[in-house]
Symmetry: C2
Subunit: 335 residues, 2 copies
């Protein structure tokens, strides 16, 4: 089911993804080869390009719906859509250093091949590249979106870091963390598609909300996969979150429902610095026992439905089809 959906999606957006790929290469032409090496290592190692693809689809959806002759054509939208992939890659680089995670997208994390210092600076360079592109649009609204994203994300990262290892994290706190970590960027990428095509504020807001709900669903599904997938499919070791002291919804829900004995057991496992594979399996069993998986799937499903509703007022076109499929795919993917 998930594989078929992916295949169908790829058949619809394959050509667009190619164009985005080319734009990512074209804009990333610094004078220093090492930057390209490090940035390229991450940028060109199989990312989904979800964010620029969304900018492009949202842009086309507005153009179609409004029958508009926006000053920005398809090529311009594709060019500026890369802003959100560079921004995404920049945060991933800094995250890798911050988390000292050692696997990202199935390859070595950048900072195990290069010094953390170099990775920090490359992240800065990618952030600067996305800022340069945003400045080039000369659209204040788009630049404000970008500024808002960077501010929320950096605050969110710091917040998440402070809450690491907190076994009393509430669902509400978790939702705020994933909003800032994932949803605001996807939200901004979607809104920018509308901004770039001069869409009305009501359409900008609708696509912003589509992006918000899609982002929430994506992150919840991501957090689920860390418990339910296997290392080969996922491209990184499962159980990474809990090993890093990050509580996510499946576990938060299970902890809230567990009886005193199980709760104490789970907390002692989480708190144990020598977390083994056996411990991980024990946690997974408890999560399943207390419906943490199903609850998370249900919450993610809610956001998918909300995302879909946000598209109601837009015209039926290929871009809309893709966006509906992406919403569905968010919680059905395997990696």
């Amino acid at each position: 089911m998930s594989k078929e959906l992916k295949k169908k999606l790829l058949s619809m957006v394959g050509k667009d993804l190619e164009k985005i790929e080319n734009a990512l290469h074209e804009n990333l032409a610094p004078n220093i080869s090492l930057v390209s090496d490090i940035a390229g290592h991450l940028l060109f190692s199989g990312g989904k390009r979800l964010r620029p693809l969304l900018t492009l689809m949202c842009g086309r959806l507005c153009l179609y719906t409004n029958n508009s002759d926006s000053p920005n054509n398809d090529a311009a939208i594709i060019k500026f859509s890369t802003i959100f992939e560079y921004l995404h890659a920049a945060t991933l680089l800094h995250d890798d250093v911050v988390d000292s995670a050692d696997t990202r997208r199935g390859r070595d994390a950048a900072h195990t091949r290069w010094s953390p210092a170099m990775v920090v600076l490359t992240g800065d360079y990618l952030l600067a590249s996305s800022l340069s592109l945003a400045a080039e649009t000369e659209i204040p609204a788009l630049i404000k979106v970008m500024a808002g994203i960077t501010e929320e994300m950096s605050q969110g990262e710091i917040d998440q870091m402070e809450k690491k290892g907190n076994i009393h994290l509430t669902e509400k706190e978790y939702l705020e963390i994933i909003r800032r970590k994932t949803a605001v960027l996807i939200q901004g990428a979607c809104r920018s598609g509308a901004i770039l095509t001069n869409a009305q504020p009501v359409q900008q807001n609708a696509l912003d909300q589509y992006g918000y709900h899609l982002g929430m669903a994506f992150q919840m599904a991501d957090d689920l996969l860390d418990y339910t997938s296997d290392t080969t499919t996922l491209g990184k070791k499962t159980g990474a979150d809990i090993r890093e002291g990050k509580l996510t919804l499946p576990l938060i829900h299970a902890l809230s429902k567990a009886d005193t004995k199980d709760k104490a057991l789970m907390e002692s496992i989480i708190d144990n610095p020598c977390f083994s594979d056996h411990d991980f399996n024990e946690i997974v069993n408890k999560i399943k026992h207390y419906n943490g998986i199903d609850f998370t799937l249900e919450r993610a499903g809610f956001h998918v439905n909300q995302a879909i509703k946000c598209l109601d007022a837009f015209g039926e076109c290929s871009a809309k089809k893709v966006m509906l499929m992406l919403a569905e795919y968010a919680i059905k993917r395997e990696s």
Copy 2:
């Protein structure tokens, strides 16, 4: 001489510095207290506020010269001048992590009190804050200046890192490093004063060039102080550059003039990973012997004169006086 000049300067800009200080506090009001702690540690530990002060002086200079009624009044210029202090602080934070320097402005470097991860994220937050302020101006030219600065600086940092320990660094390479490291930000701060007050392009360019030359002179003087000052006055250990493998102009010049024997001696000292205070004194003696100090002073003096010339076409006012004194002070200061 230098102390008197400093006193006179402070008497002229003391009130403005207070206003800048207040603006720095007002804009730095994130929800998370830790960010304020880390950012505040660096931001409010005796920085010179040179960059926002220059934005303000350049803005006033243009207003005076053009007898202009710009939409931006003094308060708005002060508010947006903080962009360049936040940006500066962000780069210092990332630099500290990158260099693993352990003293900055006479206090512990931030990352020895907080984790490098937290310092990286706080740097990101300050960068985001400066971007938000820039976006708030809604002036594309100013946002382009900011984007250009971040791009050049991050490329420059990477370039400098790659060249660390290279004992064959040429004067030309050195000049490019300090241009990106220091001059572009000061240049951008000056140009932005002109942009914020709607000054003509020719005035924008003149102030941009004033900033460029001032920045070059400042960095050369900084690099000199690392050889000629003492640890107490400087607020950090002298000889830090050479210990980190960074060749600066005094040494580059001495190396280029040294005879074969002295050159070999100096290179063996620089290459020695166990660099002692005795070694440092030996290097300082050789630099003096081959006129590395005087040569650097002469080059810095050239840039000061160029900076002063850039102000020729502007009207005589208090802001211009300050800017002329700042140019003089650049190479006469003791820390």
